[in-house]
């Protein structure tokens, strides 16, 4: 009884639909979490730059929590833990409006924000302090020096690591399967448990994940060339 590798058996009818729904959910979850991660990452960076030590400690604590606690645990905390602290009507509203998607996006986004904040901070730190001081000495204010001199260079430097974070975020969305979000990995497991075509189901999922990851990497390398500053 040889094993017949038959991709067609999982790429038709409802199974194909499941893959497509899963892919759409994975992409939507990636987008939602990415927007949150960028917004929160920039906010964290700005807060850290305020010269008031307790704020810096807060950001450091935030970053350490999100980098050191396993992401799956963070997802469980958001899904099972946080809603139980909310009043009952809020809980019911979340449960009735696909709370698992919302809470997974928050968990993934906030965790990625910690890395984004670190990447932007490294970008800023890579610009010699002399440039900031020179800008100040020729009459720029704090905002002017940051806005015209430091940040345009710092963000360019931060782009490649940020693309990298996007790639990680995209792949991490598969963890949302554990709380019942119907993303690509969840749907793949479903196709597998219905058809028992383990190789085929995961071959399809692997091809999809690879194609999108390559897309993100290509974007990264294109933007890397595009944004490179001519230096002498």
């Amino acid at each position: 009884m040889g094993y017949v590798f038959d991709l067609g058996s999982v790429l038709n009818g409802k199974y194909l639909d499941w893959f497509l729904i899963g892919l759409a959910t994975t992409l939507a979850l990636t987008m939602a979490a990415w927007c949150l991660a960028m917004a929160m990452g920039i906010i964290l960076t700005l807060v850290r730059m305020i010269p008031f030590p307790p704020l810096g400690w807060f950001v450091a604590l935030y970053v350490e929590y999100h980098r050191n606690v396993p992401l799956l645990v963070q997802i469980f905390v958001w899904y099972f833990g946080v809603p139980s602290l909310l009043p009952r009507p809020a809980r019911q509203w979340i449960n009735a409006h696909h709370g698992e998607f919302l809470l997974a996006a928050i968990a993934l986004g906030l965790a990625a924000a910690a890395y984004v904040a670190e990447d932007i901070r490294s970008g800023i730190r890579s610009i010699p302090k002399a440039q900031y001081e020179s800008a100040r000495s020729i009459g720029f204010g704090y905002l002017g020096a940051m806005g015209y001199v430091v940040l345009p260079q710092a963000l360019r430097i931060a782009v490649p690591p940020l693309i990298n974070q996007t790639l990680l975020l995209f792949k991490n969305t598969s963890l949302a399967m554990a709380i019942g979000v119907g993303e690509l990995t969840y749907r793949t497991r479903e196709v597998e448990s219905y058809t028992f075509k383990t190789f085929e189901a995961f071959a399809v999922a692997t091809a999809i994940y690879l194609a999108i990851s390559f897309g993100i990497m290509a974007l990264g390398s294109w933007s890397g060339h595009r944004l490179k500053l001519e230096t002498r």
């Binding site: 809603p83 139980s84 809980r91 709380i179 497991r189 479903e190 448990s193 028992f196 071959a203």
Partner: protein, 270 residues
């Protein structure tokens, strides 16, 4: 395309390996001197860790032990996850499955089932607050089940309007129900009765069964000698009364489940 050829090659290799093992499994097991039985290890009272001895014990384990005894070989237990049951068997990592394996026509296309050694009532657990007391009340609601289980497929088949949300394990599915994230939890009556008893949130098991599910031991296809031997052991256990003893020990009077054996050991018909 290269990816597919690599995967295809893996598949061919895997089937080649299991192909040699399938020459005569019964002879292989006897030559090896041990029967490798795939069991869940997380499903009281069928297969679970004894709190004191830390050994995996239970109804499934005892049945496997009897099969091993009849073959005159030692028993080796291998813990497996619910969704890995059939792949583990097909890839030859275990000889036999005693793992809450309910009969479904889809599964019967992949593996052979022994005669039924247990029959499970698949029921639904809801919270008392939800006000749902009948199966009809579940139309359009969210129903959870363990990922890859026959309960999940049963819900899709029998309550097509319900939305299924699956979790990796019983505890996550139960927590989701307790927190009102889903409206009902479909599973074996035994598990649900125990959960309802332990729950702090008041819960009830809907009286009517969603479906009845005979469980068989899982075997690879095309192993007639091994299958006959296993069915012979099960038949002997039933006629000698040993099955009643084993059943009583794990599920009968004096246990948390307190049920009577009301099924026969017989061929499972779809």
């Amino acid at each position: 395309m290269k990816l597919f050829s690599v995967l295809g090659l893996t598949a061919v290799l895997a089937s080649g390996l299991s192909g040699t093992a399938q020459a005569d499994q019964l002879a292989d097991i006897k030559a090896r001197g041990k029967l490798i039985c795939g069991t869940l290890g997380t499903a009281e009272p069928f297969s679970f860790q004894h709190p004191q001895t830390r050994q995996i014990v239970g109804y499934d384990v005892d049945i496997c032990q009897k099969v091993a005894d009849a073959l005159g070989v030692a028993l080796e237990l291998k813990g497996i996850a619910v969704e890995a049951r059939i792949p583990e068997l097909l890839q030859g990592r275990v000889d036999i499955l005693a793992a809450n394996l309910g009969y479904t026509p889809e599964r019967a296309q992949q593996i052979d089932f022994s005669h039924s050694y247990f029959v499970s009532q698949q029921k639904l657990l809801t919270t008392k607050d939800s006000g749902i007391t009948t199966l009809e009340g579940l139309a359009g609601k969210k129903v959870t089940a363990i990922k890859g289980s026959s309960s999940e497929q049963g819900v899709r088949r029998l309550i097509p309007t319900a939305e299924t949300v699956t979790f990796q394990d019983t505890s996550s599915a139960f927590l989701a129900l307790a927190q009102d994230k889903v409206d009902a939890f479909c599973g074996s009556e035994l598990i649900l009765v125990k959960l309802a008893k332990q729950s702090k949130v008041p819960m009830l098991v809907i009286e009517k069964s969603l479906f009845v599910e005979p469980w068989g031991l899982g075997l690879r296809k095309g192993e007639a000698a091994f299958k006959d031997q296993v069915n012979g052991v099960l038949g002997k256990l039933a006629s000698s009364g040993e099955l009643d003893t084993i059943f009583g020990k794990w599920l009968g009077e004096g246990t948390a489940f307190n049920i009577k054996r009301d099924y026969k050991v017989e061929e499972i018909k779809s």
